[in-house]
Symmetry: C3
Subunit: 139 residues, 3 copies
């Protein structure tokens, strides 16, 4: 049994989903671990993680629209708006999705289903650099 | 320290919650691991996992009603409706719940609380066969 | 590679967020594990876990208001109200947040970002004693 830690820094371009599946699979493949568990951690409270459909780009557009409606940006609605109207909605959208996702690894590869991708979900309007920690252990 | 991988295939009968607690506990009990961590992964984006109350069936009925209202099915509301009006709501309901749940194991048993069950939450109207990956490690 | 299990019992005072970051960091620091994975499990279905902003208390107030509006308490709205109007909303709010969070550990410390705290989110009106299981493994 051994383990490895790694950090990805992801440049986002404002609100939207960035696919992390490929960098995660590629890093895992080089660790010499056939069977194990991979954990992905997002070190932020205004960006989050989600596993979603990887094929049709309209799914991502629907996701953005849905979260705009479910957690509206509106000046005066929230007490916390230090950084603008997208500040508190970013925290709430993070809370409704994931900060951490762990996936089993088999044959050196995370066991994603055919239609699954792991996305970083940026909730702020402006570009950010987001730190994603990867932890892998196994044999 | 050792680890084990397993796959459950669960036949769902349309929308609803299928209790996975017993098969998960039973598989864990046969792995010869007293202390460790069990991870459950759902390989789909239109079905998900949740830990919920295990006693009163009206809880499950309330859950279904709540998600119908929170993420409505409505033709024309979503851009992605390739597979019908339950397609995109299934993705969004997945996103608001869990694709992965990891639970500590003590004395050979996941440490569920008295009232906790781990459910597979089917979001599509029609029956499906859902692949659930289990990963256990420990000693 | 070694592992450790621990249970925290947290007294809540009704609805609200209790910061678990410090007890989690302190327990982790005493386990003699530099690199690893820490898992936090909440043994209840009417309290949950979330990673949120740790600085401005108005964030926590906004979170409470948001969940009151998203999952309203209202007599007659839910079939399951054995324990009062906050019973079923507590289950639904748990379902929309987390029962489990796992975080990588580096240099003996969970890799929380600068602004991240891990909170226990009590959803019931009355005080409760909540059992939180910690599992740590690593080397």
């Amino acid at each position: 049994m051994k383990q490895a830690l790694h950090q990805l820094t992801i440049a986002t371009t404002g609100k939207g989903l960035t696919d992390l599946t490929r960098p995660i699979i590629e890093w895992t493949a080089t660790q010499g671990i056939a069977t194990g568990l991979l954990t992905v951690w997002c070190r932020h409270t205004s960006a989050s993680l989600t596993v979603q459909e990887n094929a049709d780009p309209t799914v991502r557009a629907d996701i953005l629209r849905f979260f705009e409606a479910l957690v509206p940006e509106a000046t005066g609605r929230y007490a916390h708006e230090d950084e603008g109207p997208d500040d508190m909605p970013a925290h709430l959208r993070t809370m409704l999705t994931q900060t951490q996702i762990s996936i089993p690894v088999a044959a050196g590869r995370p066991v994603f289903g055919t239609w699954q991708a792991l996305y970083l979900f940026e909730h702020r309007r402006h570009p950010n650099r987001r730190e994603i920690v990867l932890h892998l252990f196994g044999a």
